[in-house]
């Protein structure tokens, strides 16, 4: 086993005579390896390539280096399991290990104490990375993912696949994405084990410089894998989509409508803070203050993935400024978050004849009699009774198009819920956004606190939350809903 490691090192040095000393100049290395086009030379397996180009985008120099190395070194000599073999996307792949047989699972089982990053104990870093990988796998629903990839691979291999190009496109797209995710995790495992091998090797050779570099690389990896934990929270099918956020005031008159506008304001600020595009699509103001309901469109990557955590009823407790006796009131706002499905997703087919399109809030004789910039439109989908309105565009045509987009998304959501029910998958998410589904309380009197009832996460700075600082609530919910899942991986 020693031999293989030495080989690794020497073969590298042979190819790069610049490095006369056995020293790893990592940054230079990275620039060298990145300039190589390697993805097509590794395997002919197109499925694998899609996964690798995914890696390529991430520009992770170490993985590129290790891949490069794998390519040059005959796999028979190199003890690391032939990881990127054409079987690698099958669930039954052999578990990778270090030269002395340590696996990622093994590291986890060792339960090494995790110390701060600045401690140079490599076992601590390794343990932290292993835990992160474990968490990522859990969030990706690893076993299901492997089964799904296998299933898609089988479908991709069918000779009649492209008889239905739309379906084939969907399959290969999903396969590409899932393979990418899977390979990324496997790459992390591989990388971790290689680092450990390198450390052990350098110790045996008393090469402190090499050891230092390898530990550094491990710390680097510890950080990047930690970041990946977050990304893995947003692995849902529609998470990367833009979305509509709808807020509706509950019963309780002006106080409740004021609360609805506060909630909407919170989301607008949150979205702006995250750099998303925000556009008001529909807004029904209250008579005295606030809004009866409103819809905004939030544009940007993962807008839905994050915002979906806000779906449900939000409760406010405060002394109402609209109550002459200044009494304490409790009001509710219902929030619904709807993904805007892009190309490639199956969408609800709307028949033109099923639609009723009306001018909204029009009065009088209209036509030449009226000069108004109000061209609000309401579209009703007669079979389902679902409606959508838009009045914030400057022409009736645009209002109609915008309302159609909302209607389409609402119908898509309905269809998704119907299918989920059929698959009996996540019955929980079917607990629609009724006022009964209370997810969070905002108490402004007699004390100040915002508490999420799903996670028990709470903060006392209510103002900051209402200013759009809700990321912690979202993340704690997302991780709770994915990580508390009982079944392993």
């Amino acid at each position: 086993m020693m031999i293989s490691l030495l080989l690794k090192k020497s073969s590298f040095l042979q190819r790069n005579p610049l490095f006369s000393k056995p020293q790893f100049c990592f940054s230079l290395l990275s620039s060298l390896t990145q300039s190589h086009k390697f993805s097509t030379s590794i395997q002919n397996d197109s499925n694998l390539n899609s996964g690798i180009s995914f890696l390529d985008k991430k520009n992770n120099w170490f993985s590129l280096f290790s891949l490069k190395r794998l390519e040059k070194i005959p796999s028979g000599i190199f003890c690391g399991v032939n990881f990127y073999s054409s079987q690698s996307h099958a669930a039954a792949a052999v578990e990778p290990s270090t030269s002395d047989g340590l696996t990622v699972e093994g590291i986890l089982a060792n339960n090494w104490t995790i110390l701060d990053e600045d401690e140079s104990d490599w076992k601590s870093h390794a343990s932290s990375i292993a835990q992160s990988i474990h968490l990522i796998k859990k969030r990706l629903k690893w076993k299901k993912l492997l089964v799904r990839v296998k299933m898609l691979s089988v479908q991709l291999d069918k000779p009649d696949l492209w008889d239905d190009p739309v379906q084939a496109g969907k399959i290969s797209r999903e396969h590409g994405i899932l393979t990418g995710k899977m390979n990324e995790v496997k790459k992390f495992e591989q990388e971790l084990l290689e680092h450990i091998d390198m450390i052990k090797l350098s110790r045996e050779e008393n090469d402190t410089e090499l050891e230092l570099e390898a530990v550094k690389a491990l710390i680097q990896m510890r950080r990047s894998v930690k970041e990946k934990e977050l990304e893995a929270l947003l692995a849902g099918e529609h998470d990367s989509c833009s979305c509509f956020i709808e807020v509706q005031a509950g019963a309780g008159g002006t106080e409740s409508m004021d609360w609805a506008s506060m909630v909407m304001q919170m989301y607008k600020k949150w979205a702006q803070r995250r750099g998303y595009g925000v556009a008001v699509v529909d807004e029904m103001p209250g008579e005295i203050a606030g809004i009866k309901r409103a819809t905004i469109r939030v544009d940007g990557e993962y807008a839905f993935g994050y915002a979906k955590a806000e779906d449900g009823a939000h409760r406010l407790v405060r002394c109402s400024p609209f109550d002459s006796a200044n009494r304490r009131h409790t009001s509710f706002s219902a929030v619904a978050v709807i993904p805007i499905l892009g190309e490639g997703f199956s969408r609800y087919q709307i028949k033109e004849s099923d639609l009723r399109i009306e001018r909204f809030r029009s009065g009088g004789s209209g036509g030449q009699h009226a000069n108004t910039t109000d061209s609000a439109v309401r579209i009703t989908h007669i079979p389902t009774g679902i409606t959508a309105t838009c009045q914030n565009e400057r022409s009736q045509h645009s209002n109609k198009a915008s309302a159609m987009a909302v209607l389409q998304s609402r119908l898509d959501k309905l269809e998704m819920a119907r299918q989920a029910q059929m698959n009996a998958q996540h019955t929980q998410s079917l607990a629609e956004n009724s006022f009964g589904n209370q997810i969070r309380s905002y108490v402004l009197h007699p004390y100040r606190m915002v508490k999420d009832h799903r996670t028990d996460y709470e903060v006392s700075d209510a103002d900051s939350v209402l200013e759009g600082n809700i990321d912690d609530f979202i993340l704690s919910y997302l991780s709770a809903s994915l990580d508390n899942d009982e079944d392993e991986l």
């Binding site: 009306e358 036509g367 030449q368 000069n371 910039t373 109000d374």
Partner: protein, 364 residues
């Protein structure tokens, strides 16, 4: 209506302009900055160069003043003549900012010190005060303020003397679109929009016709002809849409009997109703484009009488009317007076459910 809106230092600058009695004719913003030239179409605000600067805090002061002015209206206009309420005026204010400020409305929510942030404007701050004052106090239509109307997927230049195209009228283009989709002869044929005003319908049609399809837009008013031509050019349709000056069919004589389709939104308001119109319409829009005579049917009847000879067999027509009464009358008229000349003559409703349009085909 006295509204105090700025700190003394600023008001001393604006006072002479804002609190003097404004002339009866609305002052046009372009006339403030450039000498008037007759019949040269005005550039919409959003297309003007952003030659003016203001600090964000001054702009915000204006915005606050304008908001207060809009809010003070309440439902006063709505109750008196079905005019805009505060909510609508506030939305218009947002659009005015959209058109006037180079950086767009987001610049107003900058977190930097607003007295240090400088924004670029397409009209000077004084003009913005003046424009919004005209909007509220004179009920000058918003579209004349910004010099444009968003109509379908178009942004059309409009100015005093041009009827601002209405949302209802968008549907005429939809009718034509449905008709030409299934009929190649009509898709590649010659169309006419009579009394085109801003050129809205003609441009809408010009964009859905086939490669050989052409449209002629006519109007009696020289201002309309110049603005419609400008709009046609803005959408690069010079080769597709020809604008001609003249009354109804007059400019079309040489193509008599060749038209694949004729559409029009002629004046249809009965003369006696003109006095009671919403202020934005009655006080500011051209009577020529509104007043349809005693019954409001003068021009519609003239059109109905003329199209039989202008349309080719199987040619399509669509007219906008004042509503159910006129539409029904026209359908009866065309079926009885010119028996056999037309077929499939129908009434169609606008999105408000008002029986607004009459459509049909010339008999083959």
């Amino acid at each position: 209506m006295k509204v105090s809106f700025i700190r003394p230092s600023l008001s001393s600058i604006f006072k002479p302009i804002l609190f003097q009695t404004l002339p009866n004719r609305p002052v046009n913003f372009s006339k403030i900055s450039s000498p008037p030239t007759s019949l040269k179409p005005q550039t919409p605000l959003f297309l003007k160069p952003a030659n003016y600067r203001a600090t964000l805090s001054d702009l915000k002061k204006w915005q606050l003043w304008a908001k207060n002015l809009a809010t003070s209206v309440g439902t006063k206009f709505l109750d008196s003549d079905n005019g805009p309420d505060s909510a609508l005026l506030l939305r218009e204010l947002g659009w005015l900012i959209q058109d006037a400020v180079l950086e767009g409305p987001t610049s107003l929510s900058s977190e930097n010190n607003p007295s240090e942030v400088v924004v670029s404007l397409r009209a000077c701050l004084v003009d913005l005060y003046l424009l919004w004052k005209q909007r509220i106090e004179e009920r000058r239509p918003f579209q004349y303020l910004v010099g444009c109307e968003h109509w379908r997927d178009l942004v059309l230049s409009v100015e005093e003397g041009i009827l601002i195209p209405r949302p209802e009228t968008e549907l005429i283009v939809d009718f034509v679109s449905d008709v030409v989709k299934e009929n190649e002869v009509l898709r590649e044929g010659l169309w006419a929009d009579l009394g085109t005003g801003s050129g809205a319908i003609a441009i809408g049609i010009g964009r859905i016709l086939g490669s050989c399809g052409r449209a002629i837009a006519t109007d009696l008013s020289p201002i309309a002809v110049s603005v419609a031509s400008y709009n046609v050019q803005r959408y690069s349709l010079q080769d597709k849409v020809q604008v001609k000056q003249g009354s109804w069919f007059e400019p079309l004589k040489e193509d008599e009997g060749k038209f694949a389709g004729i559409v029009s939104n002629p004046p249809y308001i009965p003369s006696e109703d003109i006095g009671g119109l919403q202020a934005e319409v009655g006080k500011h829009e051209p009577k020529l484009a509104l007043d349809g005579g005693a019954t409001g049917m003068n021009d519609l009847l003239h059109l109905c009488n003329g199209i039989a000879s202008m349309l080719r067999p199987g040619g399509f027509f669509a007219f906008e009317t004042n509503g159910e009464k006129q539409s029904k009358f026209l359908v009866d008229y065309m079926e009885n007076e010119s028996k056999g000349s037309f077929f499939d003559v129908k009434v169609a409703s606008d999105f408000a459910g008002i029986k607004r349009f009459v459509t049909g085909y010339r008999a083959t």
